[in-house]
């Protein structure tokens, strides 16, 4: 092996090591950035607060009939705000379907959105969302100050908001129900309390 070949090999090793180091550093910055955002479902600091009474609505269901939202029904209501054009919302739909099945004795899942009735009817059919109730109401979104999707609000059996937040995966949806069971506003709240102790 000539000195030139040897130096070539050494230079490649250093080159790849350096590029991989840059990639690792960039990834670490990305991970740090993700960790800056709170754990569990992200609570947006506006809209009615956890512990307050939920705004009460009586809304027509897309599939017919009416549904009461925010009233003290003795059951937990999981309001899921979505849009037909939101890819992550679509990812969560099967999770919500299975959740409504598994928790059918205690939790009612309600899908909420706003916009054109035709577009949502097609979406409801296409995604096979029956029998989940689906409501269209701009006022409902305004009342909860929904600015980002997908967003979930858990309303307790007494009609009080027990947890809410931006949700991107199954764990974050479950975090809202767990937060309700534990009697904390959110997993962020739980972590803050635990750190204080």
């Amino acid at each position: 092996m000539t000195a030139l070949t040897m130096s070539n090999v050494l230079l490649w090793i250093t080159n790849i090591a350096l590029v991989v180091t840059v990639l690792a550093l960039a990834r670490q910055i990305g991970v740090l950035n993700e960790r800056v955002t709170p754990v569990g479902a992200l609570i947006m600091d506006h809209g009615p607060k956890v512990g307050e009474a939920a705004p009460v609505f009586n809304l027509p269901r897309l599939e017919g009939g009416e549904i009461a939202i925010g009233t003290a029904t003795g059951r937990t209501q999981l309001l899921f705000f979505l849009s037909p054009t939101c890819p992550v919302c679509k990812k969560l739909l099967p999770i919500l379907r299975s959740l409504s099945q598994h928790e059918r004795t205690t939790v009612d899942v309600v899908l909420a959105s706003d916009g054109e009735l035709d577009e949502h009817s097609r979406f409801y059919q296409r995604e096979k969302l029956a029998p989940l109730p689906y409501v269209l109401s701009t006022d409902l979104g305004m009342a909860f100050r929904i600015s980002k999707l997908p967003y979930a609000v858990v309303i307790g059996p007494a009609g009080l908001i027990s947890a809410k937040g931006l949700v991107n995966n199954r764990e974050q949806i479950e975090s809202l129900l767990i937060a309700q069971e534990m009697g904390v506003a959110s997993l962020q709240d739980y972590r803050t309390r635990a750190q204080k102790r």
């Binding site: 070949t5 090793i13 840059v22 960039a26 950035n33 890819p87 679509k90």
Partner: protein, 184 residues
């Protein structure tokens, strides 16, 4: 310096690196079909029903392009297919940038969290230059040891550089979002 050899090496490095990039992008897209379908729909280039067909077709086509690029006898076909795909992606990005729809996920390998930007279009142009190199300088049979080391290491370095550039662009967008949220 033998210019023919160095030119051939550039083509080899480019085709292997782009093949790996295509394969990884297709792998990530296929891991989350539903989200990827939603992202293609979000581009609003084709009607929603066609977007779902596109979403089902694009990752397999990327696999085909990757496989063809790796095979010496099919590398030029792979380069042409890759160029068609990259042109499609880049046009879709530029059209949405022109519409001002910058907040949609680019779908660069499933839901990557990377939003549309001019940097993304430029990155695609660099990949397209690589594909043109792969077409202009196709494989020329057996190579000596030093050339082989150069080709393999060069491709590995380019792949890592591509993902580092992607990550840095995502970081930049996240920092920009955080700093614009922070109170001044």
């Amino acid at each position: 310096m033998d210019y023919a050899v160095s030119f051939f090496m550039l083509g080899e490095v480019a085709r292997l690196a782009v093949a790996a990039i295509f394969a990884l992008a297709a792998f990530h897209a296929m891991r989350e079909w539903t989200v990827f379908g939603g992202i293609v729909e979000q581009y609003r280039i084709v009607p929603p029903w066609l977007a779902w067909i596109f979403a089902r077709m694009l990752p397999p086509l990327q696999w085909v392009a990757a496989a063809a690029l790796v095979l010496p006898m099919a590398s030029r076909t792979g380069a042409v297919l890759g160029l068609c795909l990259m042109t499609l992606f880049t046009v879709a990005i530029i059209v949405n940038l022109a519409r001002g729809r910058v907040s949609i996920d680019c779908g660069c390998g499933g839901a990557s969290g990377q939003k549309l930007s001019m940097g993304l279009a430029l990155r695609n142009l660099v990949v397209m230059v690589g594909l043109i190199m792969a077409w202009v300088a196709p494989p020329q049979g057996a190579v000596d040891g030093v050339t082989a080391i150069g080709v393999i290491c060069g491709s590995l370095a380019l792949i890592a550089l591509y993902f580092a550039a992607n990550q840095l662009m995502t970081n930049f967008q996240a920092f920009y979002a955080v700093s614009s949220r922070s109170p001044s």
